[in-house]
């Protein structure tokens, strides 16, 4: 029990926030509302988990928000063109993976710092999405696409099912498989990883592809909710995804990844957002509280780590 709390330091504050909301509103604990929160958290957690891999490796990807847009546009355009839903979904994921591949290749083969490379792809992909749609909505009405958010296999909303599966897979991958350990190894000591013969470049590319894929999935989920795709979707999503991971503590670890932390981070952010909406609070407070939460959570974590070992290892730059 104590071990669990130590591994997931967000748990206690999360429970606290939930208790406060349960007391201060009469609707927070209703089934519908909790489901809302969890579905929203699930949608945020999936890309957050992919981003966890990236941050565990000591890098991050700013292009995911644009990927959301382009993937959504790809899927919806394909549907409009009369392609079957299955193909359209795969196309969106393919677009995401391709963007990730481009990121990975530019970073590893051309030696551009991840920050700039993904910033550039962010701009380029957004541009591509806008150029392709020419600012028009790609409106669809597709039950197949809708199933991604509205489907309820075994009575559980589909995003939650997806998130649970992804979480389990990611946890297993990062903690128990070679690929996951290699990702952490690179984050822990890149030079050593090269020296001991790990295929560092391939792993890095794979991680960016993973983030791209998750961006594609995120775009599908958003397009599924809104039944459209356009060049404006996903603006600023990169910050959301990174925030979740940072909140989950992975950024402080460097070379370790906390999948559970990321998931809790997503739940935390969505709980606060939902709570403030239930309390009819202006959006300004929402930003402030997320910011304060980030700082507080990480300050606590840093403090605890400082007590345990010497200086905290810190992700100061993604160079």
């Amino acid at each position: 029990m104590i071990g669990a709390i130590k591994k997931a330091p967000l748990l206690a504050p999360l429970v606290l926030v939930m208790v406060v909301l349960a007391v201060s509103t009469d609707t927070f604990l209703t089934r519908g509302n909790l489901e809302n929160v969890l579905v929203a958290a699930a949608i945020l957690a999936v890309p957050g988990i992919a981003m966890t891999f990236c941050l565990a490796m000591g890098e991050f990807d700013l292009s995911i928000g644009s990927t959301v847009s382009l993937a959504g546009v790809a899927c919806c355009s394909a549907l409009i063109a009369g392609q079957p839903p299955a193909f359209s979904l795969l196309l969106a994921l393919g677009v995401g993976a391709l963007i990730g591949l481009a990121n990975g290749v530019v970073i590893t083969k051309l030696g551009v710092t991840p920050f700039i490379a993904t910033l550039a792809t962010m701009v380029i992909v957004r541009g591509a999405s806008l150029a392709y749609t020419d600012g028009h909505d790609q409106i669809v009405s597709s039950p197949g696409l809708k199933y991604l958010v509205a489907g309820r296999p075994l009575g559980v909303p589909m995003p939650i099912v997806l998130a649970v599966v992804v979480t389990a897979l990611a946890w297993w991958t990062i903690n128990r498989t070679r690929f996951g350990r290699w990702v952490c190894a690179i984050g822990s000591n890149r030079d050593a990883a090269r020296m001991s013969g790990l295929p560092v470049d391939r792993i890095r590319i794979a991680v960016y592809v993973l983030v791209g894929l998750s961006g594609g999935l995120w775009g599908l989920l958003i397009s599924s909710q809104l039944q459209k795709g356009n060049g404006q979707l996903g603006l600023g999503f990169e910050l959301d995804a990174i925030t979740v991971v940072v909140l989950g503590g992975t950024a402080l670890l460097g070379g370790r990844a906390s999948i559970v932390g990321t998931v809790l981070g997503a739940v935390m952010i969505e709980t606060i957002r939902n709570g403030l909406n239930l309390l009819n609070t202006p959006p300004a407070y929402q930003r402030i509280s997320v910011g304060l939460l980030l700082i507080a959570a990480l300050a606590l974590l840093a403090l605890r780590r400082r007590e345990r070992r010497g200086a905290p290892r810190v992700l100061e730059s993604a160079a």
Binding site: G32, G135, I139, K146, Q225, G231, Q232, N277, P282
Partner: protein, 320 residues
Amino acid sequence: MRTKKIASVALLGILALSACSDSGEPAADQKITVGFSVYDMQYEFFQKMAKGTQDAAAAKGWEVKLHDEKSDENEMVTGASALIDQGVDLLIISPFKPTALGPIIAKAKAENVPVIVNDIGGGGTPYDAIVISDNAGGGKLAAEFMDKQIQANGSASKNVASITCEPSATYAARRNAGFKEEIEARGYTVVAELSGNSKAEEGYKVMKDILAKNPDVAGVFSCNDPMGVAAANAIKDAGKSPVTDVVSVGFNADPEALTAIKGDLLAATVAQDPAAMGGLTVTLGEQALNKQPIQFSNAAEREVFNPVTLVDKTNVASIG
């Protein structure tokens, strides 16, 4: 170290030199040039507005210089000022931030260039005229329609909600204010007034939260169509109808809203006519150029209204 200094001086020199080699001849040709600075060409609404403006100007044989503000106030001031610098005879602007009109108007006044504002105004600046969709009036129309539709649905609830844009969007605030005033006058309570930051994604989430908080909510007004259609999608995903259960009204009459209305996915939207607005600005601009008096709808604010209409299932076929 020294070479760096020299080179940076040289760089400045080049910039300064090239600045001096100015062509600076006055625009002496007869043809009238109109500068049109537009909010953001990524949006269909403004694409239509630009088209309307260009068509009207072309009909008069004028030349149009288009500038895209790209939703950035710095770009707006820079680009619009640049249009004045390029010697346009008339400036038409649909400002990204109406509060940032000040420096542009000041510059235009200094150069004697009349300014016609399109769509969003305010900021207390002495532009020659502004063409506005009646945002507050549109909000009132939405409230009227919502009241009627709720009664037609036979709903007993007097609770409605509104989804607003970010606080900086003055036009949206006016829509919301108009809606709120009218709907409250009709005996309803606005139980939730939350911001979706103009974004569809957030509109969807906010609507879900509203439904969880007030399951009995009978109607929702969204200050733009992306959020309106997103909210309607959220209502549908929650197993309710956006027409007969929670009356959803948007604003703008974007194509997605019209499509949604046709498919019973949205109850109504408020139509503005951006192309007509664009045309109107050109007419007003000509009057200003010729120093003719302008017929204001609201002379105190130098406003010329372009009417808005409510679009629901009954008249959707005739729009757009």
